[in-house]
């Protein structure tokens, strides 16, 4: 489908009736009821970039372990302003190999922005004022491994650097096997007169645990774990799989080694993929908001990741997170807004922690998909996945139990859910999931600082001197500096400068009514303002001499550049 020329895919406008909220005759046709490999994603982003040259710059931010490019789309209206000086919003997906939807959300977002630009004012304004840096997969190697190799729905989580998990001197010597060749690693069971499981007489896909008082008259079974064999003859099955390190324990804020934080690799950014992202972010101090996508569980997560780091988040910033997170709960039915260390687990070295703790960027991680989606209800039914698989997927996601002769275990049976159910959103629900998550990131991106020079007042002081007061407005929720940023001076102060006038003195007005100001004695032409808070006005003042005309410019790393004319 990707190889078909664009012209054939674009249908005639008169044959189409627009469904509200979706590009109805896009330049690039993409099916959003399936998943794409790393190469599939790369081909799509290339198409989007080629179809929208004024909106998209596509570049590789680095190479993966196996040498794949990590593709990034920088999306903004390149005809307005200086692209990399606009407030930036960073999005990535797929840091965990098997948690694949983020790549499709990212791709959908890029597609939606580019195809709706010029048609939907909200999108047009967004791309005039902001830039989106979108990296669909920051783990292309292991994404492919998940899709193409022997895996369960939960493997691999790591990237592809081989590691010696059992400290025996061998690397990745005993991984999973797809013994029955169904494309997934399912489960192994064996008939055993003393086993503690039986087949559910009402549904042969299911196994029932035997209780202590049960009288069993049917065949008993035991489970033998995930499909695989003991490759290295050490008496253990599947104990040293590809990896294991966790790319989401590889980030620099309060990084801890593996013995403290399982999954850490050598040092912060020791995996090439995370390093590429970190280097990109360090070079783009305009990034003010960020989003990473995982699965699953239906969560909108913020930091802190670790209990030990609780004090990093103060009240002012928590209020901003809460406003966005709670909106997200409404936009994403079945999702809950949660704090990682309190509501999930206490963990060091996560991506969102470095973005916020290390760079002062407001960041969320969404865990895509939850069991809520099966029947759109919060009521938990232990059999719902089996029912859903039968009722709505027509039995497409389960491998029936079949006999197999195992080299160690002898006659066994293999069967179970395939890897594309449980975590990955089923096809028919995927587009909605992508859209809702995108809308959440738009709400977040909308509330990055938006600066303007609201007004300028002049007052003659006599003696040829004029007092010029400028009112600098931030009309969105986020400040130009998060409180973490202010605590450590992560990004430089905002510069508010006057050009063209002879400046005698310059000051920040802290109380206009009572005339309280703080004078800046050196270089008063460029006032250094620590922060322009959200939904508020900062006042600055100069005493100038003479009547020349002047320009006032606000230059903020995260708030962008605006000038009076």
């Amino acid at each position: 489908m990707l190889m078909v020329p664009l012209a054939i895919n674009a249908q005639k406008a008169e044959d189409i009736f627009r469904a509200a909220g979706s590009p109805h005759n896009p330049k690039v046709q993409i099916s959003f009821n399936k998943y794409y490999t790393a190469e599939g994603l790369a081909a799509i982003s290339k198409k989007i970039a080629e179809a929208h040259p004024n909106l998209v710059r596509r570049e590789s931010i680095g190479k993966s372990t196996e040498g794949r490019d990590i593709w990034m789309m920088a999306i903004t209206n390149y005809k307005v302003g200086d692209a990399d000086r606009k407030p930036g919003f960073y999005i990535d997906g797929n840091i965990h190999s098997n948690e694949i939807q983020g790549a499709e959300i990212s791709t959908y977002t890029a597609w939606y922005l580019t195809e709706n630009f010029g048609d939907v004012d909200y999108v047009t304004n967004m791309l005039n004022d902001r830039i989106f840096y979108i990296v669909p997969t920051i783990n292309p190697d292991a994404r492919n491994n998940y899709m193409k190799e022997a895996n369960t729905g939960s493997s691999p989580r790591a990237g592809m650097i081989p590691l010696d998990d059992d400290r025996d001197g061998l690397f990745d010597e005993d991984g999973l096997e797809d013994l029955d060749g169904d494309g997934s690693v399912t489960r192994m069971r064996r008939k055993n007169p003393n086993g503690n499981m039986i087949v559910d007489p009402k549904d042969p896909r299911m196994m029932i645990q035997i209780g202590p008082d049960d009288i069993v008259t049917t065949q008993r079974y035991e489970f033998l774990g995930s499909e695989g064999i003991d490759n290295d003859g050490d008496g253990l099955v599947n104990e040293d799989r590809p990896g294991y390190y966790d790319p989401n324990r590889d980030w620099a804020w309060k990084w801890q080694p593996d013995y403290i934080q399982r999954g850490a690799y050598k040092y912060p950014f020791s995996a090439p993929e995370t390093r590429a992202v970190a280097d990109f972010v360090l070079k783009h101090p305009n990034i003010a908001g960020a989003q990473s996508f995982h699965n699953s569980g239906g969560m909108i997560l913020r930091g802190p990741g670790a209990e030990e780091d609780a004090s990093t988040y103060n009240r002012a910033d928590v209020a901003i997170y809460d406003a966005i997170g709670k909106k997200g709960e409404k936009m994403l039915p079945g999702y809950r807004y949660m704090v990682v260390y309190k509501d999930l687990y206490s963990v060091f070295g996560g991506e969102l922690d470095w973005f916020y703790g290390g760079r002062g960027i407001y960041t969320f991680t969404n865990e895509i998909f939850s069991s809520f989606a099966y029947y759109k209800t919060k009521d938990r039914d232990p059999n719902q996945m089996y029912n859903f698989e039968k009722d709505l997927l027509m039995g497409d996601a389960f491998t029936e139990w079949k006999p197999y002769n195992h080299p160690t275990y002898g006659e066994i049976e293999i069967g179970g859910f395939r890897k594309n159910i449980g975590r990955a959103t089923p096809g028919f629900m995927l587009e909605e999931e992508l859209h809702r998550n995108m809308a959440f990131t738009f709400y977040h991106a909308f509330h990055m600082p938006l600066l303007s020079i609201d007004s300028i007042k002049e007052k003659k002081l006599g003696g040829g001197l004029t007092e010029v007061t400028a009112y600098i407005k931030n009309s969105r929720l986020m400040p130009t500096h998060a409180s973490q940023d202010l605590k450590y001076n992560i990004t430089r102060p905002d510069y508010i400068s006057i050009k063209g006038a002879k400046v005698v003195a310059g000051m920040i007005v802290t109380n206009e009514d009572f005339g309280v100001t703080e004078e800046q004695k050196t270089n008063p032409e460029t006032l250094r303002v620590r922060n322009i808070p959200g939904n508020s006005i900062v006042k600055v003042r100069w005493i100038i001499k003479g009547n020349s005309s002047y320009t006032i410019t606000v230059d903020s790393e995260k708030g962008g550049i605006v000038s009076s004319k």
């Binding site: 080694p257 912060p268 102060p493 510069y495």
Partner: protein
């Protein structure tokens, strides 16, 4: 013809250089080029036992050298890593690292039968070169452009040599708002006034320079760079000057760590740096050791540290070492807390205490005491006498420049370097004698019944040092001791494990293992790990 001439000409100069090295005793610390040449000479003189490689070139364009001393294959023996120049102002550490290598190769080559050495003489080549430049001051950073005071401007306020002596010392400004006073027992030394003692400040004290950016701070943002010893992961000092934007942000850090992480045979790391757990062993704190983010040496390792410290003090004859703990982001603490190796660190030298005699009383203040020692040793140029200068920031005040010269308090006179290096070589040799050493002992075979043999043996650590520090048992970067029963197809393990992993074995301790094996003929059992040494034995089944 011309070519031949040129070669002869070159040869002549090479000979001249070699001659000059041999004839003239070195009188001052060697710069990077001289040290690099020394490394290359070691390589050419002992080519069978030396590997010299550049791990990376820093952004300042300097090579980070790794010198491997070995016999056979480097990875076949347990190894000690020696790391110098973690602090660019400690010139001694670079010299010692090279001298230890030279001593081993020249006088103790037999140690290479059992131990491999990985030596990294200088991790701060950009910083250490400051000593050899026109303007001398303690520089710690690499060539990365950094905004040390995080104000948005880079390198906007650096030092100035106000008295043109080529040294950055101090300025003192007579000002009642200042909170410094002259030390009573030696007025050359400035100390903070203590109001509790009824002292009123008389001076302001800054480092030598002017306030270029008029922010009230002196020399707070010069060509700082990232300090090697402040950019590692343990207790990383976020956003402090010299720390870098995140831990392990620099090429030399990544190159060294990547190298170390791949040398599975390393059991010990000796840091030649400011921290000193060889004179003052780390102390165990139960509460801090129990925390998830471990903040104390572990109990067994405390005992080990004490043991090593005793050896060090005896062999080097050192005493009165000032306390020198890690300040966060340093290499020594990383090597223990995050890498889990047997971690040792020493600056190698500190100014000995001046004890005084019947005529001269020893002064208590550390700096004043140092000045007494320097005088007694007849050192030259160790103090810059206070001299009045005109200072643009203080037009109407008395401003003087002076103070203890840079480098002299932390680096010994060059004449002492050889002896210090020799003693530290002896200490390193002692460590290698005690290293973990796995052997298979007391092998017994019993016939149980037809074709069934019981094999029992001890996996023994002949070394005095444990195979794993207590921290190392937790680290994924130290392998377990692997015991592998190599069978042929007709043989089968009936009881016991074909492959088993032992977490650790203490010094001079052993673990008994036993198997029931079915079959005939002979088989081999191998035991060991890269950093513990290995052994194997052949068993004839009964």
């Amino acid at each position: 013809m011309f070519k031949t001439n040129q070669s002869l000409f070159k040869l002549f100069w090479i000979c001249m250089c070699l001659v000059s090295v041999n004839v003239f005793a070195q009188s001052d610390y060697r710069n990077n080029n001289e040290l690099t040449n020394a490394l290359k000479q070691l390589k050419s003189k002992h080519s069978a036992n030396v590997k010299l490689q550049s791990l990376t070139k820093t952004i300042g364009g300097h090579d980070i050298w790794a010198l491997t001393l070995f016999k056979g294959k480097p990875e076949d023996n347990p190894a000690i890593a020696i790391v110098g120049g973690v602090d660019g102002s400690l010139l001694l550490s670079r010299e010692m690292a090279v001298n230890i290598a030279e001593n081993i190769l020249t006088n103790h080559k037999d140690v290479l039968d059992n131990t491999t050495f990985y030596i990294f003489p200088n991790m701060s080549p950009n910083a250490s070169e400051q000593y050899f430049s026109k303007l001398k001051y303690h520089k710690l950073g690499n060539a990365k452009k950094t905004d040390d005071d995080r104000d948005g401007l880079t390198n906007e306020d650096t030092f100035e040599d106000l008295n043109n002596d080529g040294l950055i010392t101090l300025i003192r400004v007579e000002d009642v708002t200042g909170n410094y006073i002259k030390l009573k027992e030696d007025e050359r030394v400035m100390i903070k006034a203590n109001p509790q003692e009824g002292e009123l400040g008389t001076h302001k004290v800054f480092s030598e320079g002017i306030d270029n950016d008029k922010d009230g701070k002196y020399n707070e943002d010069g060509d700082g760079g990232v300090h090697f010893n402040k950019n590692l992961t343990y207790n990383f000092p976020y956003f402090q000057p010299g720390a870098g934007e995140h831990a392990v942000s620099e090429k030399e850090h990544r190159a060294l760590l990547d190298f170390l992480y791949e040398q599975w045979n390393i059991y010990a790391i000796l840091t030649l740096g400011p921290e000193n757990n060889l004179s003052n062993p780390l102390k165990y704190n139960a509460a801090n050791a129990r925390k998830r983010v471990v903040a104390s040496i572990l109990k067994d390792d405390e005992a080990l540290n004490k043991f090593l410290s005793k050896k060090y003090t005896k062999i080097t004859g050192t005493k009165d070492a000032p306390n020198a703990n890690g300040k966060g982001g340093d290499f020594f603490e990383w090597s223990y807390f995050h890498f889990g190796k047997l971690a040792m660190s020493t600056p190698g030298w500190w100014a000995p205490k001046f004890k005084g005699d019947s005529t001269i009383k020893a002064k208590k203040n550390y700096k004043a005491n140092f000045l007494q020692w320097a005088e007694a040793e007849d050192l030259s140029n160790y103090f810059v006498d206070w001299k009045e200068v005109n200072h643009p920031d203080f037009p109407n005040k008395k401003v003087e420049v002076g103070g203890i010269a840079p480098f002299v308090m932390t680096n010994p006179p060059y004449s002492m370097v050889e002896d210090i290096s020799k003693k530290h070589t002896d200490f390193v040799l002692e460590i290698s004698k005690m290293q973990p050493n796995i052997s298979i002992e007391n092998v017994t075979t019993e016939k149980v019944d037809n074709g069934l043999t019981r094999v029992t043996l001890n996996i023994h650590n002949k070394g005095l040092l444990p195979t794993h520090t207590e921290m190392g048992k937790r680290s994924r970067w130290l392998r377990r001791i692997k015991v592998d029963v190599k069978l042929d197809k007709s043989q089968e393990v009936i009881s016991g494990k074909k492959i088993q992993l032992i977490n650790s074995i203490d010094g001079d301790s052993s673990e008994e293992l036993t198997w029931l094996i079915k079959g005939k003929g002979s088989l081999t059992i191998e035991a060991g790990a890269a950093h513990t040494g290995a052994d194997k034995t052949t068993i004839n089944l009964k």
